[in-house]
Symmetry: C2
Subunit: 163 residues, 2 copies
């Protein structure tokens, strides 16, 4: 269950992986994102141990991805909700869902679908460019060193981007 | 380094997690997506062991996410490239990058940026609804059971979606 930590890596993929943690964490995040907000309900839904769930929720709270609010005292019990940061992280889960809906289950056999509240239609979220609004896929973009690029890490990537 | 396997789960997030594997696998996928296509170059770039890299590449090939082509015989040496399935999976990495660019490094300090070939601008990919073209965030959608929903899994999710 242990993962490498990419704490010092100046790679945004690696940093997100560190927050997503092990394999259970994204599913806990999924449940909270769907509105399953109480410890016992998440535990029943996922069928994981209380110890593992408590650890994963604590890590998500530490990362300020999930916030908890007491809904009962003596004994204290909490509701778990996504923070704004968590809502942005949930978009990674949405991308994961889009992938497996297409390539594992098939779009006509998707387990969960989304109704877009803005238009009311069943929606498949798609990536577009924020500048021109046209679709973005991996073949449509060229990587370049950003303002925070560190040439001392990842020698091959540095050669590729900086030449 | 071991992860749970969600082989039987009818959840698209879980299925994608199974393919993304352990923490190294998405970074190997990232390198291949960026065009670092040869074993030795990926190994130098990530600084992981040859054994771990070989295992991760083999798994990605098994999942038909990456394809390999011999560029040299005796000894045989391979180039690794994304398949169409892999290009769609790379969108998950793009979502991970967007998240940490914003919440870990800050958009003004992003390590890697993208030029959108269609418009030529520096682009931040954003999710929109494929029906109306308006933005999609976690607050903008309601989940519903899809055609492949299995009510026997995830009791709390079933109660939430089916009532």
């Amino acid at each position: 269950m242990q993962r490498s930590s990419f704490g010092e890596s100046r790679c945004s993929v690696a940093q997100t992986l560190d927050i997503l943690g092990d394999s259970w964490t994204p599913l806990v995040l999924r449940d909270v994102a769907l509105g399953i907000s109480r410890f016992d309900a998440i535990q029943r839904n996922l069928g994981l141990s209380r110890k593992v769930l408590a650890q994963r929720l604590l890590a998500l709270v530490d990362h300020q991805v999930v916030m908890r609010t007491a809904y009962q005292q003596a004994p204290v019990r909490y509701d778990y909700r996504l923070t704004d940061k968590g809502k942005d992280l949930a978009l990674v889960l949405l991308a994961m869902q889009q992938f497996a809906d297409k390539w594992v289950f098939g779009v006509d056999n998707a387990p969960v679908v989304w109704q877009h509240l803005t238009c009311g239609e069943r929606s498949n979220p798609a990536f577009v460019c924020d500048k021109c609004g046209e679709p973005i896929g991996p073949d449509d973009v060229l990587p370049a060193p950003g303002p925070g690029f560190d040439g001392s890490q990842n020698p091959e990537l540095t050669a590729l981007l900086v030449g």
